[in-house]
């Protein structure tokens, strides 16, 4: 094939055309197709993320519903335990409660004082507080005391006796002087 010799003018025009073509390709990919593809890729990624979130949300809702059923008993029990804490400051209601409780068991002159109060170390009990009380029973019959303690331990699940001290009262052998150190777990209100 015989190539025709190109003139200088033609070579210039060819170079100009090639430059124009390169410019066209550059502009097309840089300013048109590139941003469009980037935006599309971003949207596809966002769709994947949102769909994953939607899917996980459905799982989350199912799990919560299942947990709700499982926790029914625990929730009821928790509410019951919460109700053992009366309204107001414990120092205001706990000593009268003890006085009434022991009076019902025939033990009078009962006094209770708050020894110490502290938070629990366990994170699960962050809403609960631990109070230590000294309950003094200056005149108590041993049998009545035993029954009262049994009743107290059965009716107050969040009360634990840490120490029991019983001394015979001099001159009155039918009575004992009793000190109970009780620890209560109370809901913070």
């Amino acid at each position: 094939m015989k190539l025709q010799k190109l003139s200088k003018d033609q070579i210039q025009k060819i170079i100009l055309s090639v430059l124009g073509f390169i410019g066209l390709i550059y502009c097309y990919f840089t300013f048109f197709l590139g941003p469009l593809n980037r935006s599309r890729a971003t949207m596809i990624q966002t769709i994947a993320d949102v769909q994953a979130k939607n899917a996980s949300s459905k799982t989350e809702l199912r799990k919560t519903a299942s947990l709700e059923l499982q926790a029914k008993e625990a929730t009821g029990r928790y509410e019951a335990l919460k109700k053992t804490t009366q309204e107001g400051a414990p120092i205001a209601w706990f000593p009268p409660k003890m006085r009434t409780f022991f009076a019902d068991h025939g033990i009078d002159k009962v006094s209770a004082r708050l020894e110490s109060s502290a938070n629990f170390k366990q994170p699960e009990l962050a809403d609960w507080i631990k109070d230590n009380w000294a309950v003094e029973l200056p005149e108590s019959d041993y049998v009545a005391l035993g029954k009262a303690i049994a009743d107290l331990e059965n009716s107050e699940p969040l009360l634990a006796l840490q120490r029991v001290t019983i001394h015979a009262v001099t001159g009155e052998p039918q009575y004992q002087q009793v000190t109970l150190l009780a620890q209560t777990t109370l809901f913070k209100k």
Partner: protein, 225 residues
């Protein structure tokens, strides 16, 4: 052969050169490629618009679900907290030491010739064991023997309900004074007992075989000499 003269040779050459103008051909090529690019861009833009509509739908769905999910997550965290708290509280409740049965056991062991004057019991924080100091008087012809009987009986009775029971004398001394026991002056001794025990309930004794249960055959009869 007839001779032909091309008198328009220059015009034809000029026309051919005009048609083969590289700039013109280049512009035409670029227009063609540009058209293809435009169509490709249009196709991509169409797809992007579709994706955008899918994204909008997905986001709308998420916007609709999000409050429920947030509420559900909050509720789940709350429920987990309740379950954990209840578990810890229940463990604490079940781990309590019940003093009433212990006091009942002590009272059942006290014979008429024994007088307990002081009882001081406490829960040891370190190992959750129970430590009790019992102080009292024993009256009998052999007051030390009476105190020992009380110690043994208490130990036996406590072992029925608790484990690691240890009942030992911290102090035991004869008293010079006689005490009146059922109108009879009797020698007495003062004792201090130290009781330690583990509140874990003792394992129940094995049940005797019932009639419905087939007794195991005796392989070899015991022989006595």
């Amino acid at each position: 052969m007839a001779l032909q003269l091309n008198l328009l040779h220059e015009e034809f050459t000029e026309e051919r050169q005009r048609k083969r103008d590289p700039l013109k051909l280049g512009i035409m090529g670029m227009i063609g490629i540009g058209a293809i690019f435009f169509l490709y861009y249009g196709w991509n833009a169409y797809q992007t618009i579709q994706i955008k509509s899918r994204l909008s739908a997905a986001e709308a769905e998420w916007q609709r679900v999000e409050p429920n999910v947030t509420a559900a997550q909050k509720r789940a965290a709350e429920l987990r907290q309740i379950i954990d708290s209840t578990e810890v509280l229940d463990t604490a409740i079940e781990a309590r030491f019940y003093w009433a049965p212990f006091l009942a056991t002590v009272s059942h062991c006290v014979a008429p010739n024994i007088q307990v004057t002081s009882l001081d019991g406490s829960l040891v924080e370190v190992d959750h064991s129970i430590s009790v100091a019992l102080e009292g008087l024993a009256a009998a012809r052999e007051p030390r023997g009476a105190a020992e009987e009380f110690r043994q009986l208490l130990s036996e009775q406590l072992e029925k309900s608790y484990t690691e029971v240890k009942v030992s004398f911290k102090n035991l001394e004869d008293l010079d004074t006689l005490v009146n026991l059922s109108g009879v002056p009797t020698a007495s001794a003062r004792f201090v007992l130290e009781v330690t025990l583990n509140p874990t309930p003792a394992a129940p004794a094995p049940k005797p075989a019932t009639r419905s249960q087939k007794p195991e055959p005796v392989k070899e009869a015991p022989t006595t000499k």
